[in-house]
Symmetry: C2
Subunit: 121 residues, 2 copies
DNA sequence: TCCCGTTATTTCTGTGCGAACATAACGAAA
DNA sequence: TTTCGTTATGTTCGCACAGAAATAACGGGA
C-alpha cells in the first residue's frame, strides 16, 4: 500500500492511427466485463452512456476484431460482454501496469520526493 | 529498431494536485536544455510561446523547486535553462521510458499484433 | 399486447482550451 | 538612445469536444 497522495503512473499505448488505450478505456473494459452492460459500466465511472459507447466504438475500431459485443433488448437481458480479444487486451494492460509499477518504482519514488505536496490541513 | 508504424508506449506521472508530467513536458524540458530558450523550444515543437511558457509554469509549480529558470532581455542573451532539479527530473523520465520499453516489450508486441494497421496502399 | 432496460443515434448547447494577436518590461549590444 | 530577441501577460476568437436530452429499435418477460 503506497501512500494515497503519491504520484500515479499511467500507461498509454498510442497507435499509428492516432487512437490509444489507457487507464480510462481499460477500466471501462473491466467494468463492462463485470456488469455485462455498457450503460452500467458508464454509470459506475460517472460518464454518460454516449461517452461510454463512443469509447467502446473507438476500441472496436482500433483492433482487428471487436473487443466488446453488444446485444439489444430485454429487460434484464440485453447487454454487452468482452470478446476473447477484449479480455486478452485488458489482461495484457493490467500486466503492463503491474510490471511497470515494479520496474519503475525507484524512479517514481525519486520524482515523488521532489513533487510538492498539495496543501496539508 | 522496432517497426515505425507500431504502437508507442507513453508514460504519464500524475500528481495528487491534478497535474502531471508526460512526453510533452519532458520533450519541452529537453528542448529548453538544448536551445537555452523557452521560445526556441516552443518553436521546435510547433507550439506558441505562450503555451510553452504555460507548461513551464505548470512544471515549476508542480515541484518543490523550479525546473526552469528564465532571464529577460538581451538580443542573443536572455533565455532559460534547466535547474539541477529540472535536469534530474528529465533524466529520471528518460530512464523510466527506457526501462518501460524493455520491461513491457512482450505485452506491447502482443497488443500490437492485434492492432489494426492504418490503411496500406 | 404492454412494459422495461438496454443498445444505438441525432440534435443542441455551452464551455473549455488553444491559436492568434497585442502589449509591455527587460537588458545587452551597437 | 536605438535596436532586437527574449520573457511575461492580457484579450479575443473559433472550434472541437462533452454533456444533456430526445428518439428509436430491440427483445424478453409479465
Amino acid at each position: 500500500m503506497s501512500q494515497p497522495g503519491g504520484p500515479v503512473l499511467k500507461l498509454r499505448l498510442a497507435t499509428a492511427g492516432g487512437e490509444w488505450i489507457g487507464p480510462g478505456k481499460a477500466d471501462l473494459l473491466q467494468h463492462i466485463a463485470e456488469t455485462g452492460s455498457i450503460a452500467a459500466a458508464g454509470r459506475r465511472m460517472g460518464m454518460s452512456y454516449k461517452r461510454a459507447w463512443g469509447l467502446v466504438e473507438t476500441l472496436n475500431a482500433m483492433f482487428a476484431g471487436p473487443l466488446v459485443v453488444a446485444s439489444r433488448g430485454g429487460a434484464g437481458r440485453g447487454g454487452a460482454e468482452l470478446t476473447d480479444d477484449g479480455a486478452e487486451i485488458l489482461r495484457l494492460y493490467r500486466v503492463m501496469q503491474d510490471k511497470a509499477e515494479v520496474a519503475l518504482e525507484e524512479e517514481v519514488l525519486a520524482i515523488a520526493r521532489r513533487v510538492v505536496e498539495p496543501k496539508r490541513k
